[in-house]
């Protein structure tokens, strides 16, 4: 055989093999037995121990395994979870909860009043230092009044107590685990949820399997994985290749493209997060209200929403989003650079000034791009910003400093009012006594009238009166402009079309316990 013939045979052989291996052009649809749902999220939980959790990603993963007494539905209504009913005395200082009977933790321990007390006591223990202990702020004592009944004794009436108890971080974990890991990072939490954590490979994924003893509807999908892909575009690719079945936080530009993909469903949902640029109100030039208002007039929020977010965000009309109880619309500040220049001149800065804007990158969708837009637009009125990016955790350390040590004038940040109650969004950020580092008032804003209104609103149990108080407070807060109010985020999630029943929650959670596969 000549070399030429041999070569021809070889080519033929390879071609035949290729045809056989690829199914010769008539591919049969691959039948896959799906038993695992993989959800890719942008950030890894900092912890799954309720007392150490601080972020939305932690809440999303955690709530599949660990449940709280009360659940907040997508519409903001409160429904029973581990508590079946609740009641308070007339003054609102004693709350009694009937607990669900026959519930077991993943380790077989029974769920009862003692377990609730152990968890809440731990949350309140100053030695534990739970980041979100303020959620239970005025709770003084947790009393076991029956095997399935607990009573919370409050120092003073606390109107938002129920929505605070629905917060994902007030989770119930097995009392046995509490003893073992007390004060330690619990790692894989043992809760009562529809899924139990099998393993947590740091930096990669949390693996869960269905809890066969679950008290409610047992989920259809046996295995659930949360993988962490921080790079936006990589997360989108993971969905397109099928490596992930659902992803959270789709970048706006990719959302348009995915919308055209017949194998992918894009879900748009509102969020409870407001993004803003805070001013340090005790330092020049931001100690001048006119300057702060001028800057609010100098930024075109509309174009940020339309261009950067492709319309899937909302110009902020108050310091909290409209789904929150107590919201009232007072804004937005009209975009008017001429007026901004006039106001700056009036305040004694006819030529503007230079200032540094600190901002995170990758924490909120498009955050650094938004910072650049703000820089560009403020330059138009003579305010020259130097942008400084900081890594998220060091950024928070940098911002949460006592007032006399703080070194910043402007910072970009967001706040999600996840209890859907104005107290959480206003008291923590605008009450004069909530200054950093203990509180979240990083602008060190103080207005005694606002303080008074917020204090009265949180102890008042009459919803109508509360709403009126918050309306007054919001008006003052808006006028004082300790923030440059920007926009309310929207959420964009996406999933393969064979996944149904996912809950895209406005609280930035993606829940899978009702999910199922279709062909």
């Amino acid at each position: 055989m000549s070399i030429g013939k041999r070569f021809a045979l070889l080519v033929l052989g390879v071609a035949v093999a290729a045809l056989v291996l690829t199914g010769a052009g008539a591919p049969e649809p691959e039948v896959v037995e799906r038993d695992t749902l993989t959800i890719a999220i942008g950030a890894e939980p900092e912890s799954l121990d309720p007392v150490n959790m601080t972020s939305a990603p932690a809440a999303t993963v955690g709530e599949h395994a660990v449940e709280r007494l009360i659940y907040m539905e997508e519409d903001g209504s409160l429904t029973p979870m581990l508590a079946t009913s609740w009641d308070s005395n007339e003054e609102g200082t004693e709350w009694t909860f009937q607990l669900r009977e026959g519930v077991q933790f993943h380790d077989g321990e029974p769920f009862n009043a003692e377990a609730v007390k152990a968890n809440l006591d731990r949350f309140l223990d100053p030695d534990v230092g739970a980041v979100y202990a303020f959620l239970l702020g005025s709770v003084q004592e947790v009393e076991v009044t029956g095997e399935y009944e607990v009573r919370l004794h409050l120092e003073e009436p606390f109107a938002p107590i129920l929505s605070h108890l629905s917060h994902s971080f007030i989770g119930m974990i097995s009392p046995v685990q509490l003893e073992e890991y007390y004060l330690d990072d619990a790692g894989e939490p043992i809760g009562t949820g529809p899924y139990e954590v099998v393993s947590w490979d740091r930096g990669d994924r949390v693996q869960m399997r269905v809890n066969e003893n679950y008290w409610g509807n047992i989920p259809e999908i046996p295995n659930l994985n949360f993988t962490f892909i921080s790079e936006d575009s990589a997360r989108v690719v993971a969905l397109e290749t099928g490596e992930a079945d659902a992803i959270m936080a789709v970048p706006p530009t990719d959302a348009i493209r995915l919308d055209d993909d017949p194998n992918i469903d894009v879900t748009y949902q509102t969020s409870v997060r407001t993004i803003y640029v805070g001013f340090n109100v005790n330092h020049e030039p931001f100690d001048n209200k006119t300057v702060r208002q001028a800057l609010n007039h100098a930024v075109d929020k509309e174009i940020i929403v339309e261009a950067i977010f492709e319309g899937n965000a909302f110009v902020a009309d108050a310091p909290i989003v409209d789904a929150v109880f107590g919201h009232s619309s007072v804004g937005p500040y009209e975009y008017d650079p001429d007026r901004a220049r006039e106001m700056l001149a009036e305040a004694g800065y006819p030529d503007g000034f230079d200032v540094t804007l600190y901002h995170p990158t990758g924490r909120y969708p498009q955050d650094s791009t938004v910072a650049e837009v703000v820089q560009d637009q403020l330059a138009d009125v003579g305010v020259n910003l130097t942008l400084e990016t900081m890594e998220w955790s060091s950024y928070l350390d940098f911002l949460y400093l006592p007032e006399d040590e703080s070194d910043y004038r402007m910072y970009l940040l967001g706040w999600g009012t996840v209890t859907l109650d104005a107290d959480y969004g206003l008291f923590a950020l605008f009450h004069g006594d909530q200054g950093a580092p203990a509180g979240n008032n990083i602008s060190y804003y103080r207005n005694s009238e606002v303080d008074d209104l917020l204090e009265r609103a949180r102890v008042n149990t009459n919803p109508d009166e509360r709403e009126a108080l918050y309306a007054d407070a919001i008006e003052l807060i808006w006028d004082d402009a300790s923030w440059l109010f920007l926009y309310n985020e929207g959420q964009v999630n996406a999933s393969r079309t064979y996944v149904e029943g996912l809950i895209h929650h406005p609280l930035e959670n993606l829940s899978a316990w009702e999910a199922y596969f279709v062909d």
Binding site: S233, D254, I303, I308, S368, V373, L387
Partner: protein, 311 residues
């Protein structure tokens, strides 16, 4: 006599204009001097020539950026963001609607500046340290070299990240950081050369003649170590540009709205599927510029080595 001179040649005394004379001297120098040989050798090396052309193009583009740019590199236009390459925006527009072509031109300035200045910093510190360490030897040498060992133990980019973390982010600090990170390379290189040069008889003669150490190092030793320093610097410019782009990519270098290539690349990677031009062009530019300096460095190394010159 004015512009003419009488010159004695083999053909007798002729009168030549001063201009002619200059040309002749220049020709003579070009044919016979050490540097002219290097230059000629370099131009015969195809790789080096390509490198020179690439670098020349980038330098010209950087120098004339204000004239070549079609737009203000900082001017945003949110309504025309993420446009592909076309007649309005030659290389497309970025996520804020800024013109990529104009940004790339100005970005070239930044990259070249970083490359040159950081190398100068590295040379300015590394060469004297290496020279002194090699010339004096002894305990000073041992201590210096152990310190250099520690620095070399860190990968250069890591060292640069550490320095930037200490100094704070920004282009100036990146130059300093990359400069400092290249100090050990020069110190080690120069020390080696000095060790071999200082044994030469002309150095011994200079010492015997009572010339000061300082003068010996700078007038007699270092000029003879120049070749490896030049070659290393060419490579080091490429490395510096790459490190600086890396630091900016990580958010430690150039800050918004500076059109640094690494930063453009980093910002663009979020739009890789929708607007691939935002990552392709700056990536190519970094690649080409680094390639150019590496090709030139290769050529210089051959040209400056008398042993390889004949081949």
């Amino acid at each position: 006599m004015g512009t003419v001179e009488q010159v004695e040649t083999s053909e007798g005394i002729v009168v030549r204009s001063r201009r002619e004379l200059w040309w002749e001297r220049l020709r003579h120098w070009f044919r016979n001097s050490e540097w002219s040989q290097v230059a000629r050798h370099l131009l015969r090396n195809r790789g080096a020539l390509i490198g020179l052309v690439i670098i020349g193009t980038f330098v010209l583009a950087a120098v004339f950026a204000p004239y070549l740019a079609t737009h203000n590199p900082l001017e945003t236009s949110l309504t025309t963001r993420l446009m592909g390459p076309g007649s309005e925006h030659w290389l497309g527009s970025d996520e804020l609607g800024r013109d990529l072509f104009s940004r790339m031109l100005y970005g070239g300035r930044i990259s070249l500046n970083i490359g040159l200045i950081s190398v100068l910093i590295g040379v300015a510190i590394g060469v004297p340290v290496g020279a002194v360490s090699g010339y004096y030897g002894g305990k000073l040498d041992i201590i210096t070299q152990r310190f250099i060992d520690i620095m070399i133990a860190f990968p250069g980019i890591l060292l640069a990240i550490v320095v930037v973390t200490v100094l704070g982010v920004g282009v100036q600090n990146v130059m300093i950081a990359v400069g400092i990170a290249s100090v050990p390379i020069y110190a080690r290189l120069v020390r080696g050369s000095v060790l071999s040069v200082k044994e030469q008889s002309y150095v011994k003669a200079a010492r015997a003649a009572g010339i000061s150490d300082f003068a010996i190092i700078f007038r007699h030793v270092l000029p003879n170590c120049l070749a490896p320093i030049i070659v290393q610097s060419t490579f080091q410019i490429a490395t510096a540009i790459l490190w600086a782009a890396g630091l900016s990519f990580l958010g430690l270098g150039a800050q918004a709205p500076m059109p640094e290539w690494g930063r453009i690349l980093s910002q663009g990677r979020g739009y890789m599927r929708m607007a691939p031009h935002l990552t392709t062009f700056p990536g190519l530019a970094i690649l080409l510029m680094v390639l150019g300096f590496n090709l030139l460095g290769d050529g210089l190394r051959d040209a400056l080595d008398p042993k390889s010159r004949g081949r």
